[in-house]
Symmetry: C2
Subunit: 237 residues, 2 copies
């Protein structure tokens, strides 16, 4: 299957824990077997894709069957943080020490070729394999939730009410090392087959795809004179 | 984990094969155990989410581990079609008669609450469980590829060169019945906890998230006087 998904970026501040030029791993499951020219072995690209996405899809095996769930996340250095309700079966599965797969895909364009077979997407896709670690220490959990919060809603950590002890008790926080990962990128003109090269009357090209944020709308229960704070009004994709 | 992803829609014409008011299934794995108020049991919602997304994430189990891959798709009635290279290990896994999970997530908004714990996303998410059927008949494969093509690039089927026999030989085409599926939707103000209700000085609200298409750009090899055709220039998300 070809890789693809929808564009959107955020601006989580991160502190790489190692030089970003470190190459990615090359285990069998993180090594592309097709379209190898689209693979990036550069850790900086992995970080860039993860920082540009807003949500990931987490795949776990539950009862022998795969389940693929969208969720928020955050990155600090070479650690990806996830969180979820302690009552969620998928969270329980992901936190049970078994392999999970986390995929972040950003769609950048729809690629119209002269042949249908060469139609594709421009995209950035990061895939991470590994076993998540359930965080138990208060400081580590607090740090992880801070990172996730800053990724999803930068500024809210210092503006909104922090989680209470009761709320924290209902949250499972997971850490996944970015050790075994792959990145696949496409940002190019449509490919051509030899039989299409001379078909100069047929158009080919790309529709760029972008995500935009609308101006914030206040909740119905917020008084009219309470305006959205700057960390919300100035947010851009 | 909460459900979320990025907005984008397309306008694939579809022909529902049954009344769209048919309820969805209620097997254990397609029944929500959390946030049940966000579940939709209406098949029309399932169709709507699938038609509004541009790509899905397909989860398969490969070598005992989950793998989650983004890819294009198309829907006709209550059948979802997928395709991929015969050389892809993930396609081979998905076509081997084992369970797969297909998830389409559309992100509609970032929800800023007065408490961090109530921050979330507005989104539409469809999840389908089942075993895909590998299509072998020429007519059925042709129909499925037509449906996928019209979903990803409406109009290209009648404009671009159709796949050659050689190209078709390299493509695996899969059909997945929309029998066992769930839909989860959130489109609402931020939730509030009792301790936050009186905090009238704190803002809460939603940043709407939308996908936009940029004007098409021609491939470098297309002559300057060959303009993008109407099915491209008039396309909207």
């Amino acid at each position: 299957m070809c890789g693809i998904v929808i564009g959107m970026s955020s601006s989580t501040p991160t502190t790489p824990s190692r030089p970003s030029s470190t190459p990615l791993s090359s285990t069998p499951r993180s090594t592309l077997t097709r379209k190898k020219e689209r693979a990036s072995g550069d850790r900086a690209d992995l970080h860039s894709v993860l920082d540009a996405g807003l949500l990931c899809h987490v795949a776990v095996v539950s009862g022998g069957s795969p389940v693929c769930v969208p969720t928020g996340y955050g990155r600090d250095g070479d650690t990806l943080y996830l969180h979820g309700s302690t009552g969620s079966g998928n969270v329980r599965a992901a936190s049970s020490g078994v392999d999970i797969c986390v995929t972040v895909t950003i769609l950048d364009g729809i690629v119209y070729a002269r042949s249908l077979n060469n139609h594709t997407f421009n995209y950035r896709c990061a895939m991470i394999h590994g076993r998540a670690r359930t965080l138990t220490g208060d400081d580590e959990r607090d740090h992880a939730l801070h990172v996730i919060s800053e990724h999803l809603a930068p500024g809210s950590w210092d503006y909104a009410r922090r989680p209470s002890a009761k709320e924290l008790a209902g949250v499972t926080v997971l850490a996944l090392d970015l050790e075994e990962a792959s990145v696949k990128l496409r940002d190019d003109d449509p490919g051509e087959q030899p039989e299409d090269v001379d078909r100069d009357d047929v158009w080919a090209g790309v529709i760029g795809v972008r995500t935009v944020f609308d101006p914030p709308t206040s909740a119905a229960y917020v008084p009219a004179d309470v305006k959205a704070p700057p960390h919300v009004t100035t947010r851009t994709p």
